[in-house]
Symmetry: D2
Subunit: 334 residues, 4 copies
């Protein structure tokens, strides 16, 4: 069987998913949709697929699944429409920036019995997965502390930041998902600190660029997340998990494995500096996993509930910053 895909949205992340679909056996890109003709044309030319509008796609019998890569504020509506149209759905995070809207949307998905996967590609990164597999294999015993280092090479444009929902919902949300995955237990309490150190314009836009978060589970496991919008040495993505029997650490991806030595020292190249190059393998594995779910072989690896919980942690972090206290996740989910 081959799963026939339409990608909704031909922007940067839409292109990433189109490429991923093209590279995965058992997946075929049938159509692309984007209001910007030039954008959809580029994808259609590269991959030899149709250009269709969203209404047509949802009505097409030759489309099994849609990949939603449109602006965030359209996600929930499109999920509901696609669910009612009987399409399997892969939606980029987040489902919505509002917890209640997410809940309502997930209810619709549930009522229709649709397959929905929310995109958290880091769970499919080969190194991170190898690390998680070693936890599952019991190598480090009980997980006790997780340390997530996640730093962007540079801040996005202010216009992007203004409609992003803020750093916790836009950037840290990936780490919140990884935290839940690594902790293996739901987070109970969130504490966060947030500063504006990188660019004053980010502060003027009401957002932060430098944050640290502590998550605690009911059994006392802890996770810290540190984020900044600017790391001069590239896209810094590390996971460290400390357990009762040992510790695991996933290291970064440098631009090459060549070290240069002279009187200044031993120098390795900086890190890959773009999520599309850093997570190429993860995006392909993610679509491959979705294909398995569409074919009914497995459940979706990342669910609407995962999307909801990551958003809830982001809301709790923001509230913690504002109120200077530890916030229970149950408060923001109520």
């Amino acid at each position: 069987m081959t799963v026939s895909f339409a990608v909704l949205g031909a922007g940067r992340i839409g292109q990433v998913h189109a490429n991923a679909i093209a590279s995965v056996p058992g997946a075929r890109l049938t159509a692309i949709a984007d209001p910007v003709a030039e954008a959809s044309r580029r994808v259609a030319d590269l991959h030899g697929c149709d250009i269709r509008d969203i209404d047509t796609i949802l009505a097409s019998d030759d489309i099994d699944a849609v990949v939603i890569c449109t602006p965030t504020d359209t996600h929930a509506d499109l999920i509901e429409r696609a669910a009612k149209a009987g399409k399997a759905i892969f939606c980029e995070k987040p489902v919505d920036l509002d917890v209640r809207r997410v809940k309502a949307c997930l209810q619709t998905v549930k009522d229709t019995g649709t397959t929905l996967m929310v995109g958290f590609q880091r769970r499919f990164d080969p190194d991170f997965r190898a690390l998680r597999d070693m936890i599952d294999a019991g190598k480090i015993g009980e997980v006790e502390m997780v340390t997530l280092t996640s730093r962007d090479p540079g801040a996005p444009p202010i216009a992007y930041i203004e409609r992003s929902g803020g750093i916790f919902r836009d950037m840290t949300i990936h780490d919140f998902d990884v935290a839940r995955w690594m902790l293996g237990e739901e987070v109970e309490t969130v504490m966060a600190a947030a500063s504006n150190l990188v660019d004053p314009a980010i502060g003027k836009a009401g957002d932060f660029d430098t944050v640290n978060v502590i998550l605690t589970t009911a059994s006392g496991k802890q996770c810290t997340i540190n984020n900044t919008r600017r790391a001069t040495y590239g896209y810094d993505q590390r996971i460290e998990v400390h357990g009762s029997l040992g510790s695991l650490a996933a290291d970064n991806h440098h631009k090459s494995r060549v070290t240069f030595a002279n009187g200044d020292g031993y120098t390795k190249p900086p890190l890959l500096d773009f999520f599309m190059t850093r997570y190429t393998a993860a995006y392909a594995a993610e679509i491959a996993s979705f294909v398995q779910a569409v074919e009914g072989k497995t459940a979706t690896a990342t669910t609407g509930h995962d999307g909801l919980m990551a958003l809830a942690l982001a809301d709790a972090a923001l509230r913690s910053v504002k109120e200077g206290r530890a916030v229970k996740v149950s408060e923001v989910l109520a």
Copy 2:
């Protein structure tokens, strides 16, 4: 000039300082004091110094400086007595577990004009100092985030824990000092999470064994500290400082530089697992620095104020855990 020392207390840390004094040019160990005759005898035999009681030492003309390595609850009194006796004083942290007592003691020191240095040996570790020097040289621009990983190989005996003042005052206190040193700016707010995961007996003793702390300065610089009482791979001591222009990281000390490769992978030996071996060079440099101060060549590198502030951060962290909120350092100093 040679500075003539007496070491008060011939326990583990007293022996460390006696060894350090023996290895530092310009320092001479003249006397050791300890109520346990066997303990003082061992030091006297090893280093060829006198055994005297504390009263005698404080009255001896041939002693320039005392190193206080007695139990914590005697520190403040001994500092005051030595100050009045005109001896230069090196005191192991902490001055006292009570902020008000520390303040009173420091006032006495100030009134007598005595030289007092409080022991925070990590500031003298060659690697950490190299890192701090690179910050001072402007390599990373403005400091924005500090990440301190500090994990003991194993928990101390419960009897020790019971009189230690708790993990924040006993273990994290070193990290609080390093945090202040690396941030280069006083901490304003403390948030902390604390769990009992390593050994239930530690929880029964009213203490924690797994903690994460976020410190924030007035300008928004942040520092996280993660501690656990048990790291199976040794004594884990890492510092990472992220700045506007770059990042610095000090790595751990392995037992050797030999890597073994076979079908199981590439294995480097575990870490040095004892503070005495890990910080041997730091302890010697610390005493050498104190000697400089006694000779009047420099101010003391770590002061009574440093001791007070590290204790205040510990108190604030504990209050943060108890009250589930961000605690201002000014609250606990009042």
Copy 3:
């Protein structure tokens, strides 16, 4: 323009090249040939190409280029036939095991004006290329010493070894090519030592499994190569180049970037253990480079002359072992 390929030989290396062609834009796999029907069927099914015999392929107008992956003793004949048929030719190393036969074959290629590229995929490995680029950029000044570490995970079957031409012509030949590439100057003299330590059956087959070689150029640059047929920790492929201004080193590819720490130490996973996974990116880049040459945009990056010279170094090494002396390359080329 798209270059239309036929792959001759559907064995392991033929599959590697078929995959590479499928992944390279501007290349299309049109036909596969193999006397073993099952083998060609597998490739045809995977890539949707025709199955044709070699005669048909050489006579086909819709084939621009052939990739020769047949047994070594057929290479020279197929090159000559393809050259006369007007096909661009990519041939896996070696052209032949006999220097005179190689010379004759290359003369035919020259006479026909055919494009011929000999496969030395390591020159297209992204890390090795980054290293070579840094030499070209003058980072290390003059190249003085090259150290090549090249160790197979395990010995091939004895049947393979018996018809391989020996370790120098089969395994070291890749290192000889890398040596010439890195030295940037022809080798003048070869010294080699060879032992049979891994498996007595290899010795019985008249071959060695453990060798060290020293190459010297006219200007005195030196290169050492160390090979073994068995490295328990994987496929060990390292290059180190020492120059007048600095040194460069390309490190290995581990199975993941995850380090596990416990009381036994810090363990990284073993190396990728198969040339197909280790050099996947190199094979694709190699075919892409060939496509450029077929389109006339560049000369071939690795030529028939490169194939000849690598073979000559192998012959010189073998003679050095047999005669216990430094052998001039000119002796074996005469």
Copy 4:
């Protein structure tokens, strides 16, 4: 018991040994001898020992052992005189630059029953010893290939080179000893290549600055040594041993463990660049080992025979360069 030492020669290496004696329990520096009054005065002042001439030292009842750090051409004579005077002898390598003279000297030592240790401090380096211990523990099975990388930060003065006996006898001699230690079996055959690339003045002095050597034992174990007189990144000292079950590698000593990351990459500091800082621990352990031997607790860890064999390998390497062939060690020992 305390062993009372006299150090003959107060130059650089004499100071190293004086420092080592001062730091080793059970050793006492009693006297220093040097024709240059200022040189002996400096050592005497630093360590509080006597200044005596050699005749006086050899006649002194209060001297148990001499450490010979005088110019190479005096070593053999002084060994013989000290042997006859009943002193235990530690002599810096080499005993002499002439194999026959060494043999005669060792015969005298044997006849007198004197304790003689020849200085090869690398055998006492903690990392190298840890590596050797892991071989002894069977971690890598049978040793098959040893790779020694040994590069000086910069060439010594030409005047030094002129009387050094050449790079093989002066610099590689340390690697020859390490090779024998790591191979665990005598070397049978030597092949070497040598160039003059670093400084033409070295060539004019009749010496080389860039060499590669292959050693082979009777059972086929192999060792390569690569040397250069100039490594811009410091004093490069690495050992790698490949065995039937795995591989071991001892890494270099960097100036600190701090890594700096920015847009140029990740930079670790260069290596320690002086044998006195790089091998401080080794020199102390070496003297401690000699003290054990003088006290009769163990045999000397490095013997006159070790000194002879390392010199023979150097002679064989030089002959291999001159004659362009593999040279048997037996040829130069005859």
